[in-house]
Amino acid sequence: MIPQNFEYATPNSLAEAFKLLGESNAKALAGGMSLIPLMKLRLAAPDKLIDLRNVPGLNSIREEGGMLRIGALVTHYELESSPLVRSRCPLLAEAASQIGDIQVRNMGTIGGSVAHADPAADYPASLHALEAQVKLAKAGGERTLAIGSFLQDTFTTALDAGELVVEISVPVEAAGTGVSYQKCVQPASGFAIVGVAARIRKSGGRIALARVGVTGLSGKPFRAANVERLLEGAAGSAGDISKAAAVVADGVDANNDLHASADYRKHLARVYTARALAAAARKAG
């Protein structure tokens, strides 16, 4: 369990980080909760590790223009415990609190999690339901992508070589929105066999907004627009919810592994979607 040797650097600015990351086979290090296990197994063997911990400006959580702007280095524990996140975007706090364990949440970061793009990671369900934006930066400039364009496939993102995730933005939740993240835990790792995030807003006794994000089911987390369409305009009765949840896995190429067969995963997705929707609808009042 000894990784290949590497050079280690702690740049003090983004500009310096970009310069170091431009060198061949350099890799960014955030919390290390995905990268270090891979290095120990020698599945990753970077020549240079660029630890971002001293780069300023990447670890703040700000509310600005109706959005919460979350720095890439904000840890899972900070998201779970931040009064601002708990009141303005409770879905993300709820998802963060269910990741791994205390030790992992103390170190692991939201930027590292989305950059790693594990298909069973927890955040993507919520980030899809929130229609989150991911801000990327490299030496040449910045760009912002919707979460659905950023996460491309299993362990694959839109990041270019030398590019970093710098910020993730989610909308401040409007009053009267109910949210819930429901996860079927793979007990050995803590990851989601299936995880479903739901947001529901009601108006005049009808569902005005429904958003559903799913992780763990397939190679790529996704937003379940078909479920949302069945709910918007409906009263949100138990019948409406089970009818909508029933279609969540339609047409999805489900993962199949020793923890859950494809059929069982699809079943879990329907059950956890119904649970997340019911809990969100209850909180929406």
């Binding site: 050079e7 270090i36 992992v104």
Partner: protein, 154 residues
Amino acid sequence: MNITVTINGTRHTHQVEPRLLLIHYLREVLGLTGPHIGCETSLCGACTVAVDGKAVKSCTMFAVQCDGREVLTIEGLASNGNLDPIQLAFWEEHGLQCGFCTPGMIMTTKQLLERNPSPSETEIRHGLDGNLCRCTGYQHIVNAVKAAAAKMGA
């Protein structure tokens, strides 16, 4: 690479390879064998120590990441020969059998109680999710955490 780390209150400077894991630095360079290596794969929590007050799995961190920081291991808990209240509670409530998981359990419990001084049983079990015990069946560990919370609140 040269690193300076404050460990259990004492500053140490060493020349280390960047790939040296914190657990190996503590055990092999400093002779602090309290933090244990259980799984070496980030799952068991036996290697848990606090870095700048945050519980971490020291098998999943490089020693160089601790440059300029403070590390607290199980060896740093007792003061003047008096056990810390959490250590005492594990002893009194039989929160251990073989003791292999205990240093990690205690370091994680310390973090849990700092953040939530009177946790419910569910919160204790959720809080110790990252620490495995092969002996006790956990019930006495949960009792020990409750007893520690009571001692510290008193």
